[in-house]
Symmetry: C2
Amino acid sequence: MDLPLSVDRASPVPLYFQLSQQLESAIEQGALAPGSLLGNEIDLAGRLGLSRPTVRQAIQSLVDKGLLVRRRGIGTQVVHSQVKRPMELSSLYDDLEAAGQRPATRVLRDTVEEATAEVAAALSVPEGTQVRRVERLRLTHGEPMAYMRNHLPADLLPAEGADLESTGLYRLMRTAGVTLHSARQTVGARSAGTAEAELLGEPAGAPLLTMRRTAYDDTGRPVEYGSHLYRASRYSFEFQLLVRP
Amino acid sequence: MDLPLSVDRASPVPLYFQLSQQLESAIEQGALAPGSLLGNEIDLAGRLGLSRPTVRQAIQSLVDKGLLVRRRGIGTQVVHSQVKRPMELSSLYDDLEAAGQRPATRVLRDTVEEATAEVAAALSVPEGTQVRRVERLRLTHGEPMAYMRNHLPADLLPAEGADLESTGLYRLMRTAGVTLHSARQTVGARSAGTAEAELLGEPAGAPLLTMRRTAYDDTGRPVEYGSHLYRASRYSFEFQLLVRP
DNA sequence: CAGTGGTCTAGACCACGGA
DNA sequence: CCGTGGTCTAGACCACTGC
């Protein structure tokens, strides 16, 4: 393990974080081969001039990410398989942008209306409360990919409809000071109705992926309820699961 | 915060784990109201006769689970929304059993064959390697729910076909000493072919949910590749996401 | 300003796995 | 047996928050 590890004590970045980042990039770039042992924590601490708990904190964060495995009496090993990110709470916009698909968005609707029973339940507000309703069509390469209908508290975002054509909803929420914390999702499938089929450019009765999601901020307040339709011929959900240890 | 917290130093259960379990059950049972502050770590440590790092470890594990939120200068709060478990790497059998659905399984096939290119790639073995192929039909209340096709290394499990009718595949693997670590999944949808429709009791062309999954053990070795079909009219995937902090 | 969590140290003992 | 990670202690200083 002759890795060029080092920490900068003058940096405001926590020492354990500096170390975990260096280890993570070493793993990603193959400098730490899958299956190889990391060397014991005591040596690593001594070599970097850190205490053992600090080194353990760095290693533990990578274990939590699924990049390393620790075994008593054995050591710390790099996991063989390339573990990618677990499914993230990202907007489809970010997903597609990251995939280099250059997404475009057409805002079909951006209004304030009274919450239906379904929306009110999802957002934990009384039925009839004023909520903002956004409907968008997401396109890639000029072809429809998804129809997205969102409901959010009316006061959550400044009423700037134009931004939604160029920015994902979650990015706007973060800019507005909303810290996302968790979300509950349901993924299913059904056949397209005639209007849906026409909107998405599919034949009538084509299979569609459905996704309903309620997202919560870090105080547990529901900040978004979405009910989306994806063309099954052009989209699927891909994600990584880690087994709880 | 007058909770009846206590730790047993004679127990082999780690102190931080005892504490986190007590806090978790207090949250679940409502003894710790959502939004309430947990009290500072120093006091808590002093009251229990623990050191601060130990208390922090207990709290941190609950933060990782999404039950608590910490803010500098504020304190530790119970999250408002009921956070349930993130999506788990469970077999459908376990899913249904937990939901009280009394699942039944019909093993349609349990053979050893040569790996196709698709299976070989997923299991990281040379094409043509001998692999075990299992096909099952999962039923609830006498109705078909899913058709599951799995491929696994031929030597992974003892060749006991009968168990598959009464036990989930993952349970069998765990019994055989396989420690699951992670999995990569893809969820999509398509229309049922005539044979699939008949098998699942759906009309031809009905929408089906598709799921492909490769599971890895803790050394990173692929231990299972599954390609499954679910009746969209009777099944959907539901899961919780936590935003990485 | 006082109080909170965030980070860090330098030790200690134990449990487990392999030689 | 030795080396590994797992747990734990009793302090310390810093950064951020709200008053």
